[in-house]
Symmetry: C2
Subunit: 262 residues, 2 copies
Amino acid sequence: MKVLIVYAHPEPKSLNGALRDVAVQELEAQGHEVRVSDLYAMNWRSEVSRSDFPTLDQDSRLRVANASTQGFNANALTEDVQAEQEKLLWADTLILQFPLWWFTMPAILKGWVDRVYACGFAYGTGEHSDKRWGDRYGEGKLEGKRAMLIVTAGGWEEHYSARGINGPIDDLLFPINHGILFYPGYTVLPPFVAYRVDRLDDAGFLAVSSRLRERMRTIATTAPIPYRRQNFGDYVIPTMQLRPELEAPGATGFSIHQGEAA
Amino acid sequence: MKVLIVYAHPEPKSLNGALRDVAVQELEAQGHEVRVSDLYAMNWRSEVSRSDFPTLDQDSRLRVANASTQGFNANALTEDVQAEQEKLLWADTLILQFPLWWFTMPAILKGWVDRVYACGFAYGTGEHSDKRWGDRYGEGKLEGKRAMLIVTAGGWEEHYSARGINGPIDDLLFPINHGILFYPGYTVLPPFVAYRVDRLDDAGFLAVSSRLRERMRTIATTAPIPYRRQNFGDYVIPTMQLRPELEAPGATGFSIHQGEAA
């Protein structure tokens, strides 16, 4: 397999840096080809701005989705963005690796998503009709590829449990797993999460890295999160609400967007 | 009152720009003092990096929370970060205004949070004991101040409803409302959200701006989201799980972290 790791930590000598090396080593030991986008090392620019759209008339109002569509269709997006899009098309499997900062990804990785996920590439694709609401949520240009998160958190696992004060980790990561990975078509694997990482001793690091190695060894076979696909009958079009006969009538929240495991 | 609006959109002539002007005008008409941090206009840097900690030894490993604590305590954080912290202390009320990009805030605003929310300022404060788990979730340096979000979304309101495919808007915004605003002590008001904004005509803009004016007129009196405070008996310390006698035994998800409205 071809694996792309998009990695977002400012310190190479960090736990995240060490875990990235563990992941790369184990994947390569399994015969996979690995590329890494090290966003800090690349001096990745995080802000969507006019400079993303070099062909945009300097006097015209910037409408992000429009400018993005035009830039993507004309092959006129900036080189850094095009290079990342090519890597996404090259890879069978995408890993986003980051420390959980304020319950989501660091700004630099969000900026990678905001800029690389162009209109026509990751959204705004496919037919809109009474049968389909575009190619998204299980369909799209990245369909058939796998994706997963590698996340480190300073807090305790209990704090992120079903009734923990931070909210359940699966709910905190839903906007990423469902909204960023499943959206353009990825098959999403359960995330790898390491907790209480701030004072990890040698035994602790060994335990975490051993758990990560196992996930890397099974990356091609791990059962995905069974998110419901959009255009296959579970949702009413165009309101995109889950059909009343699916899940209990009062059921709400992110979890109703998972169906039966295959 | 003193109101700080942290505003994150790259185009001044956008709907977001127009809504910001509406908010400022209405707040000033009510006699409030308003300041705006226009992140794009300020060329805000989004990435937490070594350059945030000028006194950090260049050869030492960057441990973000440690470096942040030391920088904050020594008054040695960068000028841009210190200026924002001063504005937060100045304001009685904080508004974060942004377009919903990939189901959360744009990178530039996440970078404002990542950098301005220093350790010792927005987290890592207060006593840790068997009675208290630091000053957070309802306590902290920003306690007693109000905060709210102004958000625009391209999708339909139904897509963000209880059973909509994107997930309920209140759940999508929970990591911000609870994890970023309530965490350092803000009293959090329900968000203002405008949907289907991509092709808003004049009548649509009038309706949205009239709704926003009303929220700005009532900003001092609107009832907040009744999030449960951490250190007042609802959570078991140190696992920080909601006590079993609160909410139904099987209840989970973000909504259990709200108690009764006052």
